[in-house]
């Protein structure tokens, strides 16, 4: 258990600044996800914390102790790599205890920890296999085991689930979180997969081009995104983002000349980016004063959801439809059909078109 603190950490390769000065405080025992698109600097940041990359400025503290110049092995951190990075010439057991052996730990202690870790991961029968003789999921376990036996203060995960198939990934997600809770260490998890971040993390750090866009719980990030990037990056399918003029109007406010239902307080006319998530757009067959005409272009059925993609006078919109209700609408809709949509005003997010920052209502 340890806190990890980054103070003004900056990293550049030559003239390219990968991470502009960054400050980040990670609490003891916390599960933090670093999320962002590729090239956002999230993996670099993890490597910086691990000590595999030197930094150009700033300090890294572990429980208040400056470890900026410490060797990776002196930082009491263990890392699970994306490719697992298992030593191909060593058995599962040898892989797992390699770090302890290098440290010259007591053989009895090594044995005890190995046995415990193998049992915890259900890998006891595979201790004498080489990594080449294991399946992807088993290799992933060995990589975790290698980190566990070290009993580090901090676990670093670099997209450890991205090489697993979808089903295994979902199961491993739960296991990994359970393991974190059981071991009580601090975990820093890098992923480009927002679902992983949302489901596992206590807090999410969303990065874009090395800059922290927002830090918050999954709920905060999803419901109260600080800017347009955060709103667009988190959520699947992506949030609908429409640009137009928002006006108070007489009685009902309007957007791009289209009526909005009650629930949004608009005081002055201004140009905005209006964001509304697919689940906050309701679909109707009948017109009404606060509904917009909607021409269906495509229907995506995913099982528990159906999404209608189509055109409104304000722009393209994706709307979520519950396949089990709304009178079986989802099953009947075909491309080319004309329907009506209503934007649920109280869920609308407004952004400044210039800065991308979120605007308070009105």
């Amino acid at each position: 258990m340890a806190t990890v603190t980054l103070e003004g950490v900056r990293k550049s390769y030559g003239r390219v600044e990968i991470i502009p000065p960054i400050d980040l405080e990670i609490a003891s025992g916390e599960f933090i996800a670093l999320v962002g698109p590729s090239g956002s600097g999230k993996s670099t940041l993890l490597r910086v914390i691990a000590g595999l990359e030197e930094i150009d400025a700033g300090r890294i503290l572990l429980d208040g102790k400056d470890i900026t110049r410490a060797e990776p092995s002196e930082r009491d951190m263990a890392m699970v790599f994306q490719s697992y990075a298992l030593y191909p010439h060593m058995t599962v057991a040898e892989n797992m205890v390699f770090a302890l052996r290098m440290r010259g730990a007591d053989p009895a202690e090594i044995d005890r920890r190995l046995t415990a870790a193998l049992r915890m991961l259900g890998m006891t029968d595979y201790a004498n296999r080489k990594p080449g003789q294991l399946s992807g999921g088993q290799r992933q376990r060995v990589a975790m085991g290698r980190a566990i036996v070290r009993q580090p203060q901090v676990f670093l995960f670099d997209e450890p689930l991205s090489n697993l198939d979808a089903k295994l990934r979902a199961a491993t997600r739960l296991e990994l979180r359970a393991l974190h809770d059981q071991l009580g260490a601090t975990s820093i998890f890098v992923t480009h997969d927002q679902i992983e971040a949302m489901t596992m993390a206590d807090r999410i750090v969303l990065l874009d081009r090395g800059r922290i866009q927002q830090i918050g719980t999954p709920q905060q990030i999803y419901r109260e995104p600080r800017n347009r990037f955060v709103a667009s990056f988190i959520g699947s399918p992506e949030i609908n983002m429409l640009r137009g003029v928002l006006a108070p109007g007489a009685g009902h406010p309007s957007f791009a000349g289209l009526p909005l239902p009650d629930g949004l307080r608009v005081t002055a006319e201004r140009k905005v980016d209006l964001g509304v998530r697919p689940e906050h757009v309701s679909v109707w067959t009948e017109p009404a004063p606060d509904r917009w005409p909607f021409e269906v272009e495509a229907v995506e059925f995913t099982g528990h959801d159906a999404f209608l993609l189509g055109k409104t006078p304000a722009g393209r919109i994706t709307a979520r439809v519950d396949p089990d209700s709304e009178n079986g609408l989802a099953d009947r809709v075909t491309a080319g059909q004309r329907l009506h949509v209503q934007v649920q005003a109280r869920h609308v997010l407004l952004f400044d078109p210039e800065t991308g920052l979120r605007l308070p209502d009105g």
Partner: protein, 276 residues
């Protein structure tokens, strides 16, 4: 199959078989000469009585020291190859895996490439003068060290490609696990490039074993290697074709054995970096 594809196949097969014929036929001709009487060789008889006299002359006559020459070849090739492989593997690890300033890496590799590109004969004269100046001409030391210098670039490039094929994350994991640079080499890199080392060993050994230019300039009768000895069978008034052929056949054997043993690795060595 279209006519164009058939034509393509015919052309491709023609090139491959033509190339094979270019190598195999002269070899067969030389090898068959080893079992012929001199008169049959000179008259160009294809099918002739078989004789072992060439081998008897070569191995047991008083004028010939061919077994000794083979021994010299072995001493030179084994020792120089061993030095090259050890140096090349360590250098490849250092250049490819450790933090070496870019200019150092380019200087060394650029020099190695330049050296590799220039014909051996360019240097042979200078080497002769240098070794004579320090009184080492005609010794094993001179030939072995010159072979090391000559073959090191090739060994370095081969080992670099094997080293580069190892994933970076493996070494990062080793660093996290507390390995020093030395431990990273011995415990991670070395076990994983062993296959590559075998391939490089086979290739470098063959280069050294079959070298003629350097050995011709730097050996004395006491340290003469097999290729040089074979050339001495061509004298002013008498070219002993039969013994040359027999000597060639005998000197091919070690290389052949090595290739058969290390074939799997050699192909991988030649293709390293080409695929993926």
């Amino acid at each position: 199959m279209t006519a164009r594809r058939i034509a393509g196949r015919v052309a491709a097969n023609g090139v491959v078989w033509g190339y094979a014929a270019l190598i195999v036929l002269p070899t067969l001709w030389v090898l068959s000469n080893a079992f012929k009487y001199k008169i049959d060789i000179i008259t160009g008889t294809t099918i002739s009585p078989i004789t072992w006299s060439n081998f008897e002359q070569l191995l047991f006559s008083r004028q010939s020291h061919f077994l000794w020459n083979l021994f010299n070849s072995a001493v030179v090739a084994v020792i120089s190859t061993a030095i090259v492989i050890v140096a090349a593997t360590m250098a490849a690890f250092t250049l490819g895996r450790l933090r070496v300033p870019g200019w150092v890496r380019w200087l060394i590799l650029g020099w190695a490439l330049l050296f590799q590109m220039l014909p051996t004969l360019t240097f042979v004269g200078s080497w002769y003068v240098m070794w004579s100046a320090v009184g080492l001409h005609g010794t094993y030391v001179a030939v072995i060290l010159t072979h090391v210098v000559h073959n090191l670039p090739m060994g370095l490039f081969l080992m670099l490609s094997f080293m580069a094929a190892l994933p970076q994350e493996l070494f990062q994991a080793a660093r996290m696990d507390g390995c020093s640079n030395g431990q990273m080499f011995w415990r991670v890199a070395f076990p994983l490039v062993r296959g590559g080392m075998i391939a490089a060993t086979a290739l470098i050994f063959i280069f050294s074993w079959s070298d003629f230019a350097i050995a011709l300039a730097l050996t004395s009768p006491a340290t003469m290697t097999a290729p040089v000895a074979i050339s001495t069978f061509a004298q002013e008034y008498d070219i002993r074709y039969g013994e040359m052929a027999a000597g060639t056949l005998l000197s091919i054997v070690p290389a052949l054995v090595l290739i058969l043993v290390g074939q799997r690795f050699i192909v991988r060595g030649l293709l390293a970096g080409a695929v993926k």
